[in-house]
């Protein structure tokens, strides 16, 4: 579509308006919390001026994007899907948002998520759950057994996965060309897999977290969701690099890259970690994973089974470290400087307590309390320090494997395809997160880059993705392999039924659906 913009076949304002109207007609997905219609149109107009002068800022100029609602956006409400920040309008842009805007991208709005990014379904926010666009696809409808007892009852819609579900749904339903998510335990890759889009988790330290409302400072990264791997590389190129405002970004010079069209994989060594054959992995995904390994082998790559022995402890380890950091990070929400404030006025402490009781949901409060428990003096050594030691063991597992000559690891991203909402909510948030994060969490623990590539449709007609995990700061290699794989599998385009026909014009053509 970037080509189309340059050649004048479509203008930024047209593109913006089409996206905005598509957002309106897909409102039932609940992917967006805030739609910044006025500012988006202004940005689109400014972009149009630049194209008319023949001076676009780059590939991203005029491209409509969406941002997860836990990134600060100046002048636009940032809620983290929580009552605590309802009505909070940030005074500044997160660095990644600023970078995108500086490239001329058009910010359409803020997407829905689990409250404070805690969850794996995008079902626990105060604005309601996000619906997976594939629930309304012909592919899913064809495979589902019709409900015998009603014609007009709501279809059995499936979840998007989380916590960046809104962003994934937005990209999947064509309302934007790229979206920002965040990834702490798999929150970008999980919904990417369920929504059939590319979800990239960059190496910790590559992209600035300044302005990303923190969950776990030592594991959070901004995530990138796009419809193809090339697009992810373009967005990565505009976001990566040192930020003086985030001292956890590395100081090495980052050079944006274009992905080569790999044809010869014979020099590649792909690792298959056997522990990722986790309990509960669906036989469908197991077989897809196996087919993918064969694909690489038949093309001449070296495919090796490897072992990451501490994989099964990564969830427990995460549970302790995450709740501990959350307990600390959520302490800032006291109602004094921003956000919700209770009317209770008897004392500072009672006001804080009441504000936090009113502002946080059960999931957030539960994690804060657990975190405080693990940080108690009598528990600190036993739980928190212990978890930090286990973290090193997990990180070392990866180091050992990569040192043995493996270039990239190939694993499933999720245990199964997207669950129907009614099924998903039968278990509580912590149980679900513990189940769903198992394949994605370890990469956050070790800070490694990982990417979900949509692979095939399940028997129920829903997307299934596979994950590639790469070496630290080797995004170029990781994305090159991912792009080769993407080309081999030819994942089908979603056939959305409820969308008005004329809106599909620009997006139907595969090439225009991506911007690179």
């Amino acid at each position: 579509v970037s080509e189309a913009l340059k050649e004048g076949r479509v203008t930024p304002t047209e593109l913006c308006q089409r996206c905005l109207s598509l957002i309106k007609s897909t409102r039932f997905l609940n992917a967006y919390i805030t739609v910044a219609e006025e500012t988006a149109l202004k940005q689109a107009e400014a972009s149009e001026e630049r194209y008319k002068r023949g001076q676009p800022l780059g590939v991203l100029d005029g491209i409509p994007i969406a941002v997860k609602d836990n990134f600060n956006t100046a002048g636009i409400e940032t809620t983290c899907a929580s009552n605590m920040l309802r009505g909070y309008v940030s005074p500044y842009n997160a660095t990644v948002v600023q970078k995108l805007l500086d490239q001329g991208a058009v910010l359409l709005g803020k997407t829905n998520l689990d409250e404070f990014a805690m969850g794996s379904g995008s079902t626990d926010g105060v604005f309601g759950p996000v619906r997976n666009p594939w629930s309304y696809s012909r592919q899913y409808k064809e495979k589902s057994v019709p409900e015998s007892h009603s014609e007009d009852k709501e279809p059995d819609w499936v979840i998007t996965g989380g916590s960046s579900g809104g962003s994934a749904a937005a990209v999947s339903s064509f309302t934007c060309f790229a979206a920002l998510g965040s990834d702490t335990g798999g929150s970008t890759r999980n919904p990417a897999a369920h929504c059939g889009v590319v979800g990239l988790k960059p190496t910790y330290g590559l992209i600035s977290r300044h302005g990303l409302i923190p969950l776990v400072n030592s594991m959070d990264v901004p995530g990138i969701l796009t419809r193809c791997v090339d697009d992810a590389a373009v967005v990565l190129g505009s976001l990566a690099g040192h930020d003086p405002k985030d001292s956890t970004t590395i100081q090495d010079n980052f050079k944006p890259f274009e992905l080569p069209n790999l044809t010869d994989v014979s020099k590649l060594s792909i690792g298959i970690p056997k522990e990722y054959h986790a309990p509960g992995l669906s036989s469908e995904i197991l077989s897809l994973w196996s087919k993918a390994a064969d694909l690489f082998q038949n093309a001449g790559a070296k495919v090796v089974e490897v072992s990451l022995p501490h994989t099964r402890y990564s969830i427990v380890c995460y549970h302790v470290l995450c709740t501990a950091e959350v307990a600390s990070n959520m302490a800032r929400f006291d109602g004094l400087e921003y956000g919700h404030r209770s009317d209770m006025n008897e004392s500072t402490e009672s006001m804080y307590a009441a504000t936090r009781r009113e502002g946080f949901n059960d999931v957030v409060r539960g994690r804060i309390l657990s975190g405080n428990y693990f940080l108690l003096k009598q528990n600190y050594e036993k739980y928190f320090i212990k978890a930090q030691k286990v973290r090193r063991l997990i990180a070392n597992d990866f180091v050992k494997v990569f040192r043995s000559g493996i270039d990239v690891l190939l694993t499933p991203t999720t245990l199964s395809d997207a669950a129907p909402y009614l099924e998903f909510i039968k278990e509580d948030n912590r149980t679900r997160s513990a189940q769903d994060d198992i394949l994605t969490q370890a990469a956050n623990m070790a800070g490694l880059p990982a990417i979900n590539v949509p692979t095939a449709l399940s028997e129920r007609g829903l997307p299934v993705g596979l994950q590639f995990i790469g070496r630290s700061f080797q995004e170029q290699q990781l994305l090159t392999v991912a792009k080769w794989f993407e080309k081999q599998v030819q994942f089908p385009l979603i056939q959305l039924e409820e969308v008005k026909i004329h809106d599909r014009g620009v997006f139907q053509h595969q090439k225009s659906a991506s911007f690179s």
């Binding site: 909070y88 309008v89 005074p91 910790y204 330290g205 030592s218 003086p244 001292s247 956890t248 100081q251 402890y313 427990v316 380890c317 549970h319 302790v320 709740t323 006291d334 004094l336 400087e337 921003y338 956000g339 404030r341 209770m344 006025n345 008897e346 004392s347 500072t348 402490e349 009672s350 006001m351 804080y352 307590a353 936090r356 009781r357 946080f360 059960d362 409060r365 539960g366 804060i368 309390l369 657990s370 405080n372 428990y373 108690l376 036993k382 739980y383 212990k386 978890a387 930090q388 030691k389 286990v390 973290r391 090193r392 063991l393 990180a395 509580d428 912590r430 070790a446 800070g447 630290s472």
Partner: protein, 108 residues
């Protein structure tokens, strides 16, 4: 081994967040049980890991003022303020003790 009411009370004080109901307390009990699995791992001789970037030097920029003077913007999001101050209720008043507090833990 259940978490005692004293500890639960202390947690409510520390976190300034309440358990609200039996489910909240049960959630913590389950969380602790879950975390106990960590003890199966042998970590003798292993150093705790704070950050995956531990082998690198943290960036410290020059101590020069590069931005600021945004008092008005920062105050905009606060509900209670007077001139350029955030207004808080009286401090130094601890949260009431368990017996006097309106908490689910009372009577546990």
């Amino acid at each position: 081994e259940k978490v005692s009411v004293e500890v639960l009370d202390r947690l409510e004080h520390l976190a300034l967040v309440d358990f609200r109901d039996a489910e909240g307390v049960e959630r913590l009990q389950k969380a602790v049980q879950f975390a106990d699995q960590l003890h199966e791992v042998n970590t003798d001789g292993i150093e705790p890991m704070d950050s995956v970037l531990e082998d690198r030097c943290l960036y410290l920029r020059e101590d020069d003022v590069t931005e600021g003077n945004c008092t008005k913007e920062l105050l905009e999001n606060a509900r209670e303020k007077v001139e350029e101050y955030f207004v808080a209720p009286p401090g130094n008043i601890p949260l009431p003790k368990l017996e006097e507090r309106d908490t689910f833990l009372q009577g546990s």
